[in-house]
Amino acid sequence: MSISTSPAEWGKGVRSMLRDSMDAHFWKNQLSGPTDPAQDAAWPDPPPRKGFFTDTSICIGCKACEVACKEWNQLPMDNIGMTGNSYDNTGHLGANTWRHVAFVEQSAEHIAQARVAGARLVELGMPRVRDAAVGSPDAGLPRADAGLPRATAMNSSRAVPSGLPLDGPGTRAALPSESSERDTPTNGLDPGRVALTRPGEEDASAMQWAAEQALAEGTVPDFRWLIASDVCKHCTHAGCLDVCPTGALFRTEFGTVVVQDEVCNGCGYCVAACPFGVIDKRKDPTTTGAARQVEIGIANKCTLCYDRISLDAKPACAQACPTTSIQFGDLDEMRERARERVEALHANGFTEARLYGANPNDGVGGTGSVFLLLDEPEVYGLPPDPIVTTHDLPDIFRKAGLAGLTMLAGAAVSFLGRGNS
């Protein structure tokens, strides 16, 4: 895989980078904070950034994503053996597995905890995906008409049924509008007993109350099975990319991060640098099951199907996913859909729903793979607060510089002391 850039385009990129370098904001967000990574990588006129939205709340755990990825990329088999960990015999992402479906079985207690913890996040005003108007007071908050939280069916008349016609008989548009005709909440939760606070400012505490109430009344389900398909995050600030000494890892025009097999020397720096434990070196020399000869010893990870998206096709996993749990498109739109879906879930009492990787102010500048989770990230084996290794570089250099200056000053002072003897 290689980039083809003509000298003229390269020159254009360098000139635009030199121009940008005059902008303090540019420098500020080179290593952390919100930015457009393709532009930072000097792509002239890159297309809109592409990414995933993985809605784990509708994942059926079929693993079509795992298989489609392996088939498309002709990857080797990994270990053969039952792990005893629910239906997850894959274990984790690695050089030969670029989609991994996690299975977490939880009892009522865990679910209630997740629900209450989620409600607290809402109350604290957990940072959310910002609209174009950064800092807008409405950004990320539930809509005023979100309705009273009810621990009932996971229904949403606002969720987007991706890929299917939205109009016409039998579709959402033909449904009666949300009104009092809808069946009363079930699960024994009497609407008369739910705090009838106005939605809006008190919405968060109403949700908290509803979550605690649900636990007390036993309307939290007895059991649930969390299922989530993990993938490379294609971080805005990618640790693997930052530390790669050979340039094998590069940022594509789509804002994704890709390894060039023929350049990678297998040093393994990227493996240590990834905060999510995604990229790994291929160790097994047998390459069982691979349809093509693969390189041993080099690092490998998800390419976000660079070859497919370059031809306007969807990545293999998104194409194969039967329920549209894995969605692909412009990252802006993915974040918007994710936000709407979280709101819809919150409005129906599922306060445990939260986004992961959607916040451009997090430790990796937000990711190109947004997830909707139904519990804390650690429950899924994801780091709760991932920080790219180069995040603190300016600070490190400042401190190192200060230490150096201090040393020089100290040396100078010591000379002063002897100067007159």
């Binding site: 755990g61 229904n155 024994g188 099951g289």
Partner: protein, 888 residues
């Protein structure tokens, strides 16, 4: 499914077994539908459902019966629909007696044959001079019907009645009217009984009942989706019938988002019953003739339908004659009954299990396995392999060297020493097969939809398609027989056997589909493809390989190739594939409009009567004579389609109505009744009659049954086992265990147990366990999970063990192997369709790996002696008569 307001998935694990189809359930949910999953295990379907309701395997009739009782008692059934469109108003003969009267059996039970004489279940006739409405031709005893698994013949049209002049009570208050008979039959199916027998709590039952009631009626529809969790029981057909009754009562049949979705288990298994691979059917659900009863075409047709009944089954003569013309072309003439005599005749129940037993007995000499792996995939694996070991020859056509091709050298019986390779006389042929991407053809799936699959690459090496195999085999046999004067060879020599072949000898699948569609043979349109089955004639002027598929090639266009994306057509999507019959996407859709022909509601409008045009119009092809006015009422002398009233939406039923009570067609009861499975640790709480008195039993030393509740020795096999599929594998493994990417997802055969059962038996997560049944013993890895819940049934704790059945021992080239769950199962069959009871059996489980060789056989025998079981255990038809008397 996307149009449904409430989907109840029961007897199915849809998200795991139909993941691609499940996108429509996800879509329904995103549109606001409620999804409820009723299953012994918490599965990946449960994970995305609104609620999971754990149920004891085999107790579904109690739950569904209680729902029926609930809607009848609370009067929440859809009365207008029920009164107009079902047989609720029809009167049942005075001779009929219910299970409530007879301790668990209906009137007419014949202990000699173990089957019923159905005459007492008949409707009351209003025709002069007769009391009951009988069937056409000579009355058939249930035993004769069981012998040919006659239930399968009702795949496209209902059972025949002599006529449709039935006594009715429109007020539905007469104690002999179907609605009242139904009410009385289910009166004891209460929520308390559901808790006691199914292990389902009151709150869960109320949630389910409320969900169905609130999502039925004019504005909303509820759908049931089922698969083999309902069918694979000794009364499986009745499980489905119970849901059909409930759906008719709630007015959900023939309506968008309603109905009962039968989730079929392979890409084309619907096709395998339409163009059947079944012993007892001809294409289009015409029954196979029976020796001694159907000696002429006339006798046969007389038994299949009555000219006096309602609906389109009265045209079965046109379907049959056109089929015979398609097969025997010019040789089939009116004066030789269109070669009717060439058809083979049934002389017994030749279902697959009976056939295997006949192999052991030495009466079946040869076996073709085409994409089938019975050594792993059929119940009673040992019996399957012993059967094959006694054949003269065996032909296996598959994409891989499956266990059914290699058992003679590496099967479990070689390992145990019961068989020796050198002593097996079976000659085994393996012929490599092309897979679906290496050949043209169609799939017919759950929606009755034909979809063409295009050949993408040439098959490798010697691999060939099944079409090639059958066609070339036929050519070679005909070559050998050429010039023969023996009349027994004429059926093969007179066949129309002349498809175009390509340079590899592959017959043209398109031409075959066209022949299935049918053509005119005479007249000005001779040679043209038929537009549909309405054009079929009984005079030999038309030919059609399968009447229900007629129309797929209308206008000389192969409509199974249609692939217009959904965004470019209406929401009914008629231009994707082609559904039989006549591309109707919802059957009986006249029921989506009220008796006056107006949609029940705008929201659920589907087809309706257009007064101005004088026709039925709508979003789908109307499943009704298109110019019949809703107000039309036929004269008593009308017959066939002309006898269908404007409010008879069930056009393939002999009386035009949906049957709440089945006077014919279900040989083990006109209404479903709960019976315990063949093996059950629980007493039948309703009746002294423990099991289905009509089930097919095979008392044999190699087919022993575990003791059930009340028998001594019931604690030797104390746990309920159920078998099922995983998403990652496909059936007996030929298409998944040979693939690395699928094999690594689920590499090892395992069993799922609850933490409570694990504690009781000392099982460890990730460890090994041995499972023992009266048939065999196997080993499995252990997965301890809360997804398996102990249930409290009849005051005792019932533990269930789950096992996926994908693994086999042996086979060449498989990436992963393991013991077969099916080795544990015995053979007891549903009498209507001869399907085996795979979903519930009794086993013991012990920690640790199993013994090998002779020790394995000793372990199994040890358990058998401890339990005291004999060949007669569990095979009694009628329970003790004294107990039955007491119950009365």
């Amino acid at each position: 499914m996307a149009n449904s307001d409430c989907i109840v998935i029961q007897g199915s694990n849809m998200a795991e077994c139909h993941p691609v189809a499940y996108q429509w359930v996800t879509e329904a949910k995103l549109r606001g539908a409620r999804v409820i999953h009723v299953d012994p295990r918490f599965t990946r379907t449960s994970a995305v459902a609104d609620r999971h309701i754990p149920i004891r395997a085999g107790s579904d009739v109690i739950l569904l019966g209680a729902l029926i009782n609930h809607v009848l008692t609370t009067e929440t059934y859809f009365r207008d629909y029920v009164q107009a469109y079902t047989n609720a108003t029809m009167l049942v003969s005075d001779d009929f007696q219910d299970t409530e009267d007879l301790g668990g059996v209906f009137s007419g039970y014949d202990p000699e044959t173990g089957q019923y004489d159905l005459t007492s279940w008949a409707y009351k006739s209003r025709a002069a001079g007769e009391e009951k409405v009988g069937e056409p031709g000579p009355e058939e005893h249930g035993a004769e019907q069981a012998a040919v698994a006659e239930g399968q013949a009702y795949g496209s049209g209902g059972p025949p009645l002599d006529h449709a002049l039935i006594e009715r009570d429109p007020t539905m208050t007469d104690p002999r009217c179907v609605l009242q008979v139904l009410r009385r039959h289910y009166a004891r199916y209460t929520p308390a009984l559901v808790t006691e027998v199914c292990g389902i709590g009151r709150e869960d039952f109320d949630y389910l009942a409320r969900s169905i009631v609130e999502n039925s009626g004019r504005e909303r529809t509820t759908m049931f989706a089922y698969a083999v969790g309902w069918t694979q029981h000794s009364l499986g057909a009745q499980f489905i019938r119970t849901s059909a009754i409930l759906q008719l009562l709630m007015g959900n049949v023939g309506r968008p988002g309603g109905g009962i979705m039968a989730l079929r288990g392979h890409a084309s298994i619907q096709g395998a019953s339409d163009i059947p691979t079944l012993f007892n059917l001809l294409p289009g659900y015409l029954p196979m003739p029976v020796a001694g009863k159907h000696e002429s075409l006339g006798q046969y047709l007389e038994a299949v339908f009555s000219k006096r009944q309602k609906g389109f089954w009265t045209k079965a003569d046109t379907y049959m004659v056109s089929l015979l013309k398609a097969w025997w072309g010019d040789a089939a003439q009116p004066d030789n009954d269109f070669c009717y005599d060439y058809l083979p005749r049934l002389n017994g129940n030749h279902n697959t299990y009976q056939s295997v037993m006949d192999m052991i007995a030495g009466t079946v000499k040869g076996y073709f396995l085409l994409g089938q792996n019975p050594a792993v995939g059929s119940a009673h694996g040992r019996m399957q392999r012993f059967g094959m070991a006694n054949l003269d020859w065996l032909v296996v056509r598959d994409i891989n060297l499956i266990e059914s091709a290699t058992w003679w050298k590496d099967g479990p019986e070689i390992a145990s020493g019961e068989m020796e390779t050198d002593k097996i006389a079976t000659e085994v042929f393996f012929l490599p097969a092309a897979n679906h991407a290496e050949k043209d053809g169609t799939f017919t799936q759950t929606q009755r939809m034909l979809q063409w699959h295009f050949k993408a690459v040439e098959p490798p090496g010697d691999a060939r398609s099944d079409l090639w195999f059958s066609y070339v085999l036929g050519q070679k046999i005909r070559e050998r027989l050429a010039g023969s004067t023996d009349p027994v060879d004429r059926p093969l020599l007179d066949l129309t056997w002349d498809y175009p072949q390509d340079e590899h000898g592959e017959p043209d699948a398109d031409a075959i589909l066209r022949e299935v569609n049918g053509t005119y043979l005479t007249g000005e349109k001779a040679g043209q493809a038929l537009p549909g089955f309405v054009e079929l004639k009984a005079d030999g002027s038309t030919a059609s390989g399968c009447w229900i598929y007629s129309g797929v090639y209308a206008g000389e266009v192969n409509r199974s190739k249609n692939k217009v994306p959904d965004a470019e057509q209406s929401w009914v999507a008629p231009d994707w594939g082609w559904a039989w019959p006549m591309n109707r996407r919802i059957l009986y859709n006249r029921a989506s409009a009220d008796p006056q022909g107006r949609p029940w509601s705008e929201r659920k409008a589907y087809v309706w009567w257009d007064e101005e045009q004088g026709t039925w119009v709508g979003h789908d092809v109307p499943d009704f004579p298109v110019t019949t006015d809703p107000a039309y009422r036929p004269a008593d002398t009308a017959t066939g389609p002309d006898a269908l009233a404007g409010d008879d939406p069930f056009i393939m039923q002999a009386d035009g109505k949906g049957w709440l009570f089945a006077p014919k067609g279900m040989i083990d009861g006109p209404m479903p009744t709960h019976y315990e499975p063949q093996e059950s640790p629980v007493d039948n709480a309703l009746y002294p009659q423990q099991r289905n008195p009509s089930r097919l039993v095979y008392p044999r030393k190699d087919n022993l049954t575990a003791p059930s509740a009340g028998d001594p020795g019931v604690d030797v096999y104390p746990y309920v086992a159920t078998t099922y599929r995983l998403t990652e594998h496909h059936t007996a493994g030929a298409m998944s265990r040979w693939l690395p990417y699928l094999s690594e997802l689920q590499p090892e055969f395992f069993c799922e147990v609850s933490p409570e059962l694990a504690a009781e038996r000392g099982l460890e997560n990730g460890g090994w366990a041995t499972l023992i049944s009266p048939r065999s013993a196997i080993e499995a890895r252990v997965l301890v999970t809360e997804r398996m819940t102990p249930l409290v049934v009849g005051g005792r704790t019932v533990h269930q063990i789950g096992m996926p059945y994908h693994w086999g021992v042996g086979g060449t080239g498989a990436v992963v192997q393991g013991d077969s769950a099916n080795d544990l199962l015995g053979v007891t069959l549903d009498p209507n369709v001869s399907i085996q009871e795979s979903k519930v059996s009794s086993v013991d489980i012990q920690p640790g790996r199993r013994p090998h060789g002779a020790d394995l056989l000793r372990l199994v025998q040890d358990y058998q002696s401890r339990s005291g079981i004999t060949v007669m255990t569990g095979n009694d038809r009628l329970e003790d008569a004294e107990e039955r008397e007491e119950a009365r």
